[in-house]
């Protein structure tokens, strides 16, 4: 039922995600619900997340593309803009959403967020504080978490 009436734009996006995946990103729809995507993002090189494979879930609400997709990290990650539930503080997922954006651009933005943590706009206060007071140590923790939780089973 969820799959009937899938808007053409979603079908198009899905096809393109599968046929020309963005580098370091994979997204494939669930079989039961074509609006639910299993996502993997590779930790960008030169970032504390390098070498990690991060699982996310992405859901396209009924209003999509008039409303943003809902995205959440499933893999534990130490990042000032990602909380312990995996929720992501990213403007385009909230007030800066535009229907010209799409799954691909959202995931690329999340990948970029891994390269450029922004402790001034934190979601996890503690991690942000850590980042601001002792960045070297915070980065070490992030690397450690990447090894512990994101080493790809």
């Amino acid at each position: 039922m969820a799959n009937s009436n899938l808007p053409r734009r979603i079908i198009k996006e899905t096809q393109r995600l599968l046929s020309e995946p963005a580098p370091g990103i994979s997204a494939s729809p669930s079989e039961e619900n074509m609006r639910y995507f299993n996502v993997m993002i590779l930790g960008p090189s030169q970032s504390p997340y390098e070498g990690g494979v991060f699982k996310l879930e992405l859901f396209l609400p009924e209003e999509y593309p008039m409303a943003p997709p809902k995205v959440r990290f499933l893999t534990k990650i130490y990042h000032p803009n990602i909380d312990k539930l995996g929720r992501i503080c990213l403007d385009i997922l909230k007030d800066k959403w535009s229907p010209a954006l799409q799954i691909r651009t959202v995931l690329l933005s999340i990948q970029a967020l891994l390269s450029a943590p922004n402790p001034d706009d934190p979601l996890s206060e503690n991690i942000a504080k850590h980042w601001k007071t002792n960045e070297t140590e915070a980065v070490e923790t992030a690397k450690e978490w990447t090894r512990l939780y994101a080493s790809g089973e």
Binding site: E62, M66, K84, K94, D95, A100, Q102
Partner: protein, 378 residues
């Protein structure tokens, strides 16, 4: 649970003494003198759904009401359980905020321990609250009352006589709940809807061959390529979209999906903030001032009248507009959320591009049905 069982149970001891019963119809405790000959009837509502009260806490198990959870099931909102009752600024210490841990501190000499059913027929909210809080504390909840003294109210804090604790949220997870509610309403985020007049005034252009080979050969919303001779809506920033693609968006937000150029809105507060912060006040005097970036200037002269140029006269440069968007939750919005989704869906299914004027007018009407924000401002 049945009234007769309770009746026979208590029958031997005090046949003529009034006993407390909880009436599920009135949702209160009443005192009834049970009679062996007739059925138990609530003296208030004459209903028969009564239960003999053995436990002095008349409140049924909290589980039926999802908002009324004070047990440790923080997992429902998925997070760290921190106990709280009302989170209002217990620590910020602004004004005359007071944290009161015991109700008797509020009510002076009221007795600390008093059964709500002790001797009167009437429900005693104070005793009930006190009792209820004790029950809560006994189960390990950390309950605090935070009362902001209101300078405009000389009488200070008053307990409403018809207080129903079921109306309040207890326990961990309040902040998570608020966030969850906020996140589930996509319309809460971002800029306000474009003004209807501005949307109606958007020109409809024919797709030319020239356009098809340009950067804007594709509608950025549906990602389909335009077809030759097709009509499309052009925003003042020159970006073009199918009517069915852009109109539902402009009903929600006033920005161009590609470049975020903002159309005027019907929200005077927003207009005041954004214009005040970015443009000189006297710009509102020029007829088509909003479309300063070009577009059909003269034909759009009427555009500004809907958005209240009077409101914009007062410029307010000290308020940056994004900061102003506050988290306010009103439950009815959640219910609208569903109907909004429906209208925008049916909207995008409509195919009356040829009849553009009435099309947007229709959308406007549909909209007032489901989007009270505009209703208020009309």
């Amino acid at each position: 649970m049945s009234s007769s069982a309770g009746n026979t149970g208590g029958g031997g001891t005090g046949v003529n003494a009034p006993q407390p019963y909880f009436c599920y119809q009135c949702n209160r405790t009443v005192n009834i003198t049970p009679s062996p000959t007739s059925d138990l009837v609530c003296p208030v509502c004459s209903g028969g759904f009564l239960e003999e009260v053995e436990n002095p806490n008349p409140f049924p198990s909290p589980s039926p009401n999802p908002f009324f959870s004070f047990s440790s099931d923080a997992s429902a909102f998925g997070a760290s359980g921190f106990p709280l009752l009302f989170t209002t600024a217990a620590s910020s210490g602004h004004g005359g905020g007071a944290v009161v841990d015991d109700l008797s501190a509020l009510f002076g000499g009221a007795p600390a321990r008093m059964s709500p059913f002790q001797d009167s027929d009437t429900f005693n909210p104070f005793a009930f609250l006190q009792n209820y809080l004790q029950t809560l504390r006994a189960t390990g909840a950390n309950v605090q009352f935070v009362i902001d003294s209101n300078p405009g109210d000389p009488a200070g804090f008053r307990v409403p006589t018809n207080l129903n604790l079921g109306d309040y949220f207890f326990g961990p997870g309040l902040e998570q709940l608020i966030q969850q509610l906020a996140e589930n309403d996509p319309n809460r985020y971002g800029t306000p809807p474009a003004s209807k007049s501005a949307v109606e005034a958007l020109p409809l252009i024919k797709i030319t061959e020239e356009l098809l080979v340009s950067d804007s050969s594709q509608c950025a919303v549906c990602k389909d390529t335009f077809e030759l001779g097709e009509e499309a809506k052009q925003l003042p920033c020159k970006h073009i979209y199918h009517s069915d693609c852009i109109l539902p968006w402009l009903e929600l937000h006033n920005s161009c999906p590609v470049c975020r150029h903002e159309l005027p809105t019907d929200d005077p507060d927003y207009e005041q903030r954004s214009r005040g912060a970015s443009t000189p006040a006297n710009q509102s005097q020029s007829g088509g001032g909003f479309f300063s970036s070009g577009g059909g200037g003269s034909s759009n002269a009427g555009v500004s009248d809907g958005s209240g140029s009077g409101a914009m006269a007062g410029e307010n440069p000290q308020t940056p507009r994004m900061v102003e968007r506050r988290l306010t939750i009103s439950l009815p919005r959640l219910f609208r959320f569903g109907s909004n989704a429906e209208t925008s869906n049916t909207g995008s299914g409509n195919n009356n591009e040829n009849n553009d004027g009435s099309n947007s007018a229709n959308r406007g009407n549909q909209n007032t049905g489901s989007e009270p924000r505009q209703e208020d401002l009309d």
